[in-house]
């Protein structure tokens, strides 16, 4: 078995250098924005994610070591296997990510990444601390190992996937050439994914290749007339990392405690984020539905609306 490097560890100096470069570019051009308290929260979440990965990652390692014996094929460390594993892992990532937005149990973890109202390279590092406890690695990580790809190879291509996703968290890059935008996940596509505008909700779940969204009907292009508003449907009133990390978990606990039937327990736990027994809360689907109804009732001129909008996020001269 070759001794594969850790791509994320190797990329950390580049991450830092690119954040510094984007900060300076943002200051000079005003085409991006960093806010110290938000940056601090994002980077702290990133560090916590690394620490928790080291502390809890052994659970996943133990699982894959156990699972390896049930593999259907014996695939070696050959170049085409790396390439195939990279593409298949990205396919699995698409579904895992889609589930992370539609099942509250996994959303409680993934919401951390979406909790910033800014969108810059530091947002890429805003990652959850409790991921191994969601058992996502069992549901989504097992497939490639069961096919026969070595666990170390799967971990390696998975890390490459995450390294790729770093650079797409930026407002600096507008649109890339057409063939790139067609095939790859780009800053434009991922901005839409981070946006809370009703028309953008639950779209562009891709990791590296946007083709999965195009194939499975979740692709939404960025529109010049609908600037992205970043964050979550109910933005947090704090930058406290503990609240960022735990708020949705706490929400699940409180809701499950108040449940009056097993159906309600399941709904609060595994239903879509925002699910409630009486439908009194909003989930993505209901928000989109209300928004579409409103649009057809009274079309809104987005340009006009933004002109009268609040003074928000204006970069300093």
């Amino acid at each position: 078995m070759p001794n594969l490097p850790d791509p994320i560890l190797l990329a950390i100096p580049a991450f830092i250098a690119l954040i510094v470069a984007e900060m300076i570019y943002a200051r000079v051009t005003g085409r991006a924005q960093f806010e110290p308290s938000d940056t601090a929260a994002s980077l702290t979440m990133g560090l916590g994610n690394t620490v928790s990965g080291l502390a809890l990652g052994f659970v996943a390692v133990a699982w894959f070591t156990y699972l390896e014996r049930f593999a259907l094929l014996e695939i070696g460390y050959v170049w085409w296997a790396f390439a195939l594993a990279f593409v298949l892992d990205d396919f699995v990532y698409y579904w895992a990510h889609r589930m992370a937005h539609t099942v509250r149990w996994w959303w409680a973890d993934h919401v951390v990444h979406h909790s910033s109202q800014h969108y810059n390279l530091s947002t890429a590092l805003r990652q959850p601390w409790l991921s191994p406890l969601t058992l996502k690695f069992i549901f989504f990580g097992s497939w490639l190992v069961l096919i026969g790809f070595p666990p170390a190879m799967v971990a390696f291509v998975g890390a490459l996937n995450l390294v790729y996703q770093f650079w797409i968290h930026t407002e600096v890059v507008k649109r890339l050439p057409y063939p790139v935008e067609m095939v790859m996940n780009t800053p434009s596509h991922h901005r839409v994914h981070h946006a809370t505008n009703p028309c953008y909700l639950d779209s562009n779940f891709a990791g590296v290749f946007i083709i999965w969204d195009r194939l499975f009907g979740t692709f939404v292009p960025e529109s010049a007339t609908e600037p992205c508003r970043y964050g979550i449907v109910k933005n947090l009133g704090t930058h406290n990392p503990m609240v960022i990390c735990l708020h949705e978990w706490w929400g699940i606990v409180k809701d499950v405690r108040s449940a009056r039937s097993p159906r309600e327990v399941i709904g609060y736990w595994l239903g879509p984020p925002g699910w409630s027994p009486d439908g009194s809360r909003d989930c993505s689907k209901t928000i989109k539905k209300k928004w579409h109804a409103l649009q057809s009732a009274q079309p809104v001129d987005v340009d006009e609306q933004s002109e009268t909008g609040p003074e928000q996020a204006a970069p300093a001269e």
Partner: protein, 151 residues
Amino acid sequence: MNDPLILILVLIASAVSITGLVLLNRWLGGWQPARLESPAGAATCLSNDIVGFRAGETALFDQGTGAFVMEQGGDRLGLVWTRGARFVTRVLSDGDVASVDREGRTLTLKLCDYTFSRMEAVMADEAEAELWAERLNGFLRAEGGRDAQPA
């Protein structure tokens, strides 16, 4: 990462890098606190975040740091509050408020929402503060009531 010494060095280097980046961000600036300049701004914030919310009577806080907005033809109260360069909104329904305290023209509001638990609003004058305190009291949680949930 199996060597504890390397691990400790990586963690220390990460902590130093984070501090450095945040200090650089502070030094460079490039952002301004969000401010509401008019009731229309508050209405836009709320209608963006809460689909279908139609703004009615509005009171901006001193310096445009937020706003209280009654819903037109509804019984909810919209809240806009600045958090750095961005706005955070909430729409209050029955039982969402834990307490309302008024001191002169300053209102201190505690919400039954652990993601946005407390805010202070300096109103234009005491009469306006008194009026909105009274309205907010209408959303107080009943004793032993259930906490409001964030989405």
